[in-house]
């Protein structure tokens, strides 16, 4: 390998350090109008009347639109088409948009938006999971789902659960709560649209231009061929920019109405309302275990606070039950879950999508079972680890799996086993697993998940791919793959990505799919191009194509430019295409679409902390994170993703929470929403383990999301190690630790956390035949 696996600079880094990268809000066209949205001040209300006259009368206002102008509903999932760009009948959370103004400048637009008179009939808001489960005071938030404010329920059962529990020597139940939090991207969402000659173009800070393209087409009533969506260089996503948003629809409509370019950039406060962040999840888990630590059965129940709209929530719901089995070989497993609507900003996908919450619960639950049985918590895990090339009880195909090796490496590096024991000092260990791309697209279709087109012209290589670089380095991955095959440097490759007008389809930057899927598509196209050039070079050199050595800017003895020239003379215009479609991996049951992936990454963390028993304040000393990356395409970028994931996991474990008081957001500002600063961040030691996945490009797997997952339970486990109390609810703020210590002192259960799980009338579970063969003796 000449460039794969080398610590080369990212292809877009130079532009970013010189300030020349153009993000969405940096774009402006002559005559651009500025858009402001008017948002609901109420968590739940009926709109009785709207008067736009005063707003329209403001000098400099060009257009004012409402829900009447955008009547078509949309939503990211086909089964949750429950959003209007602007609501005209009912608002469902503080921040729900109801009108949009376009004016000559931002100030005028904001002034005019304030002059719109909206008469509301305030309804009784639904503020919690418990309230959503009971009979609503007013009408349900949506006219689908139910009973009460339940959005969707799931109930699946694999293997013989009762027999599994009957076989157990020890059975334990625990309840956990994972608080909701938000992405907090540094860049506020921004979009700008033009409408010229019947063609609409939208530049937006989106992670999913393809899905936005589809949604804009539906809402505007234009064919997809008349629309181009460009994902601009991205100032941070983490899942927060994967839905189609009101401001995107508003600028499109206003551009069509006014014939002018229209731009909308959210304020920081609005970014908190746009949200789509981590679902708060209440969880109950019951596990049966043999005396030796082997799991015999597990029953897992979840209740998700979805906020006001569907978003990705049905997928999130299934994800809270899907990946328990990709780390542990569970012979019998039942999952029951419910997502409810409440009058809070809509939740959606955040880094780890629906899996950090159950991972937190599962890892701590296993710690507690180990403690009950007097077993070492690491050994309990090892006894249940899945093995490579097996199938889980819920039909997930495991291929490469570095669980044993990441465990060995992280324990060795951290000296976890021989850790210093002292009151107030603790270390915690946890493992996790994540997808390398969702095995199924969001809407049913059998197109490739990623396509790539490479053009060779006048000695230059241009790669067109729909993949969207959100800072994670996907452009660098694609350039590196193509450069490797053509014997060039990544910086030699010109990229056109995230552009539905020019690049073939890629489903977007979500589910950690880009390296695996777009990487494979690029590899496919690049190998075809390499073969064409090698054929011509071989003819010229009088040898066979197989004998042509490619690398260092050369094809055999020819320079790349000479070989490219010969190829163009021979074939005329040259382009090759590549595509990737994951194998059909879904199990034979409804709900099996969430969980399958062509490969799974594995992460293991050890966290070292000091916690002051007088104040409950935690200081994180160091985090060791071992990750099964399959293979690093660029080790510098991979390390960056690990460190970023650890950072975000620590934030969720210690302080980040999107909190509400009676459905009013408590902290819609960056000062009040606490996140780690450079002072709070501990040292991170990254350990990369290469398992060389058989289907990943050059063996590569994901790293964007997985490393966050074990960090949260490892922190809580370390708190227990330090003080002997369980904090079964994140974020682990000092007050929770003090309450748990207080309970311990009083001789009560030494814990803080939810006391019970509500009685939810889940539907009768679907009993699924399982392909499972136990890989470890019971």
């Amino acid at each position: 390998m000449r460039v794969v696996g080398k610590p080369l600079a990212k292809v877009d880094a130079r532009a970013k350090v010189t300030g020349s990268t153009l993000y969405a809000d940096d774009l402006i066209f002559p005559g651009t109008l500025f858009c402001k949205l008017l948002r609901s001040p109420h968590p739940y209300a009926r709109i009785k009347h709207m008067d736009l006259n005063a707003a329209k009368a403001v000098e400099g206002v060009v257009a004012v639109i409402t829900g009447n102008d955008l009547p078509v509903k949309y939503g990211i999932l086909p089964i949750s088409q429950d959003e209007h760009a602007l609501e005209s009948e009912k608002v469902r959370y503080v921040g729900d948009p109801v009108a949009a103004v376009a004016a000559v400048d931002e100030e005028t637009a904001a002034l005019a938006a304030e002059k719109i008179r909206v008469e509301y009939e305030v309804l009784d808001p639904v503020t919690s999971i418990e309230e959503a489960l009971s009979e609503p005071v007013d009408e349900p938030i949506h006219d689908y789902g139910g009973p009460s404010n339940i959005h969707k329920m799931a109930a699946l059962s694999f293997g013989n659960l009762e027999a599994g529990f009957a076989e157990a020597d020890h059975i334990r139940e625990d309840v956990f709560f994972y608080g909701g939090n938000t992405h907090l991207p540094m860049e506020e969402h921004s979009a700008i649209a033009t409408y010229v000659d019947g063609k609409l173009t939208l530049w937006s800070s989106t992670q999913t231009p393809h899905y936005v393209h589809r949604a804009v087409s539906k809402v505007m009533g234009l064919p997809m061929s008349a629309i181009r969506v460009v994902a601009t260089p991205h100032g941070g996503g983490f899942g927060g920019k994967t839905d189609p948003f009101s401001h995107e629809m508003a600028v499109c409509k206003l551009a069509m109405v006014t014939g002018k370019p229209v731009k909308c950039t959210l304020t920081r406060e609005e970014v908190f309302y746009a949200h789509r962040g981590r679902h708060p999840v209440l969880m109950w888990v019951r596990t049966g275990m043999k005396r030796n630590g082997r799991i015999t059965a597990m029953h897992f129940k979840t209740a998700l606070d979805g906020g006001a709209y569907g978003s990705y929530g049905v997928a999130t719901l299934f994800y809270t039950g899907a990946l328990q089995t990709t780390t542990y070989d569970i012979p019998a497993y039942r999952f029951e879950g419910a997502r409810v609507f409440t009058n809070k900003a809509p939740c959606g996908p955040k880094r780890g999508h629906g899996t950090p919450q159950p991972r937190f619960a599962l890892e701590l639950h296993l710690d507690k079972m180990a403690e009950d049985l007097g077993l070492d918590p690491v050994e309990v895990r090892r006894r249940n680890y899945v093995k490579p090339n097996t199938t889980t009880v819920n039909w997930l195909r495991i291929t490469s799996c570095g669980l044993e090796e990441i465990t060995d490496r992280v324990l060795q590096a951290s000296s976890y086993v021989n850790r210093q024991r002292a009151v107030g000092h603790g270390m915690g260990f946890a493992v996790s697993s994540y997808l390398c791309g969702a095995g199924l697209p969001i809407y049913w279709n059998s197109l490739p998940h990623s396509e790539c087109l490479i053009k060779l012209d006048r000695g230059g290589v241009t790669v067109y791919c729909g993949a969207t670089d959100i800072g994670q380095g996907s452009d660098t991955v694609i350039a590196t793959v193509v450069a490797e095959e053509l014997g060039l440097w990544p910086s030699d490759i010109r990229l056109v990505t995230g552009d539905t007008g020019f690049a073939p389809v890629d489903l977007g930057s979500y589910s950690s799919r880009v390296t695996f899927m777009a990487g494979n598509a690029a590899l496919d196209a690049a190998r075809k191009l390499r073969n064409l050039i090698a054929e011509v070079a071989a003819e010229s050199m009088g040898c066979s194509p197989g004998e042509i050595e490619v690398g260092d800017g050369k094809f055999g003895t020819l320079s790349f430019e000479e070989a490219a020239q010969l190829a163009q003379e021979r074939f005329g215009a040259i382009s090759t295409t590549g595509s990737y479609r994951p194998p059909d991996l879904a199990g034979p049951y409804k709900g099996s679409g969430v969980g399958p992936s062509p490969a799974y990454s594995y992460s293991a963390a050890v966290v070292d902390i000091d916690v002051d028993p007088e104040t409950g304040i935690i200081k994180v000393n160091k985090v060791w994170l071992a990750h099964d990356i399959g293979r690093s395409i660029n080790p510098v970028s991979v390390r960056g993703q690990v460190e970023g994931g650890v950072y975000m996991g620590l934030g969720e474990a210690l302080m980040e929470e999107q909190a509400y008081r009676k459905a009013l957001p408590k902290q819609p500002s960056m000062l009040d929403y606490k996140s780690l600063t450079s002072i709070d961040m501990p040292e991170v030691e990254t350990i990369l383990v290469e398992t060389n996945d058989p289907e990943g490009p050059y063996g590569a797997k994901e790293v964007g999301q997985g490393p966050l997952l074990p960090v949260v339970p490892a922190v809580v486990s370390a708190v227990h190690d330090a003080l002997g109390v369980w904090i079964d609810q994140v974020p682990v703020t000092p007050d929770k630790i003090m309450k748990a210590l207080d309970a311990k002192t009083k001789g009560q259960a030494p814990r803080f956390g939810p006391k019970s799980f509500p009685d939810i009338a889940y539907p009768q579970y679907v009993k699924v035949d399982t392909p499972h063969v136990a890989t470890q003796a019971i």
Binding site: D12, E187, E643, M648, I679, V684
Partner: protein, 159 residues
């Protein structure tokens, strides 16, 4: 035009005079009137640090500065960090090499804050770097690679 004023200051070594609203911030003037979009905004409330520029060599939040507060001052933005031509500043080189740039949105502010730090303290320790950068939020990197980059640049600049 009663609420308009002439703002006059140096930006990246060039003297500028701009007719602006008296209540517009330096951030708005740089981005909207002078086309220097390398300076970013993340909150416009002085919370995130993304809009940091150097005012007479010291890091300041451009979203909290009004024209009269920068009258006659020397402003350095990210566009003025590198020398002329293709050369990058050692900090920029180090950020590129160590992977300190992910989405890149906080990067200009981190670079300028680090530049001011190294001018005051040419060989800072990790803690001093962390303290200097603590007003600049980053959501991608966990600050680790940024700290390494500043250390690397400091070593090279000392040599």
């Amino acid at each position: 035009m009663s609420d308009s004023v002439i703002a006059s200051f140096d930006v990246n070594g060039r003297s500028r005079e701009v007719l602006v609203k008296s209540y517009h911030t330096l951030l708005e003037i740089l981005r909207e009137d002078l086309g220097l979009t390398g300076t970013k905004h993340g909150c416009e409330l002085g919370e995130c640090g993304a809009c940091t520029v150097l005012v007479d060599g010291l890091p300041q939040l451009s979203c909290l500065l009004l024209p009269h507060q920068v009258e006659g001052k020397e402003i350095t933005t990210i566009e003025g960090l590198a020398g002329s031509g293709d050369e990058l500043h050692p900090l920029q080189e180090a950020f590129v090499e160590t992977g300190a740039v992910q989405c890149g949105y906080c990067t200009p502010s981190m670079l300028l804050t680090a530049k001011a730090l190294l001018e005051e303290n040419p060989s800072p320790g990790r803690q001093e770097i962390a303290e200097a950068l603590s007003g600049n939020l980053c959501r991608c990197t966990g600050y680790e690679a940024i700290t390494r980059a500043v250390e690397l640049a400091a070593t090279r600049m000392e040599a």
